[in-house]
Amino acid sequence: MKLTFSNEKNALIMSVDGEIDHRYSIQIRNEADRKIVTYPEKKFIIDLRGVTFMDSSAVGVIIGRYKLVKSFGGDIAIVGANSTVGRILEMSGIRKIIPLYQSMEEALEV
């Protein structure tokens, strides 16, 4: 699993490549929280376009970041979800609280 952070148009973008399971969700949580606390005013975008596998551990980590970002009054969005990722997201009900965009351009515009 590879985690990359970048800043664009006043948004903090976290791009995840590879697999998200329980092991990697701990790493994502720790690194994401450090960045979010550093840039609390920014919109937080989780880029899942490079994710090849994820289980429900990813749901826990996304909901946890949602709560943290909201506690700072920020916004959060998800970009990209292949069929594997999409099914878990759909099942979790995350899409009812976090908008999902197919492209980064869309997510940055809103």
Binding site: D21, H22, S25, D55, S56, G64, T84, M91, S92
Partner: protein
């Protein structure tokens, strides 16, 4: 019965072995030439069960042993994931969607729901202070053997 194959594995209860368990299962069922979706279903369900053993069964201790046995009987794939951990007091409650015994660890409480959605059957046997066994089956239409 025309075709039968089985493997037995055991590994330490460390998070690094979650991906190993997925890979073992994926390699084992590849002999049935599953679709990508069938393969992902099995990998996801196995990931959930093995994570449960590590996180809940052994409470994150890395010296437990997780046993994973896989079986193919014609077109029926069966995987049994067992631990000798603390067991589940109330299986019915544990299987409720969104229920988690450790919310502070940001567990989503979706593990059993995912297993039940992606597999054809999920049976949980557990005895407190003895351990838990999760048995899952999935029919994989055989294309090449």
């Amino acid at each position: 019965m025309n075709y039968y194959n089985t493997i037995k594995t055991s590994f330490l209860s460390i998070p690094e072995n979650e991906s190993l368990a997925r890979m073992i299962c994926a390699s084992f069922i590849s002999q049935l030439d599953p679709t990508i979706e069938e393969l992902t279903d099995v990998k996801t369900a196995v990931s959930e069960a093995v994570t449960n053993s590590i996180v809940h069964g052994y409470s994150g201790k890395n010296n437990g042993v997780v046993y994973m046995d896989c079986k193919i009987c014609d077109e029926l794939f069966t995987v049994e994931i067992k631990d000798n951990g603390k067991g589940i007091e109330d299986i019915e409650k544990a299987m409720e969607p969104m229920y988690t015994s450790c919310p502070e660890a940001e567990r989503s409480g979706m593990g059993f729901t995912v297993m039940e959605t992606f597999m054809d059957s999920v049976v949980v046997n557990s005895v407190v202070d003895v351990g838990t066994k999760v048995t899952m089956t999935k029919h994989i239409k055989r294309k090449i053997l």
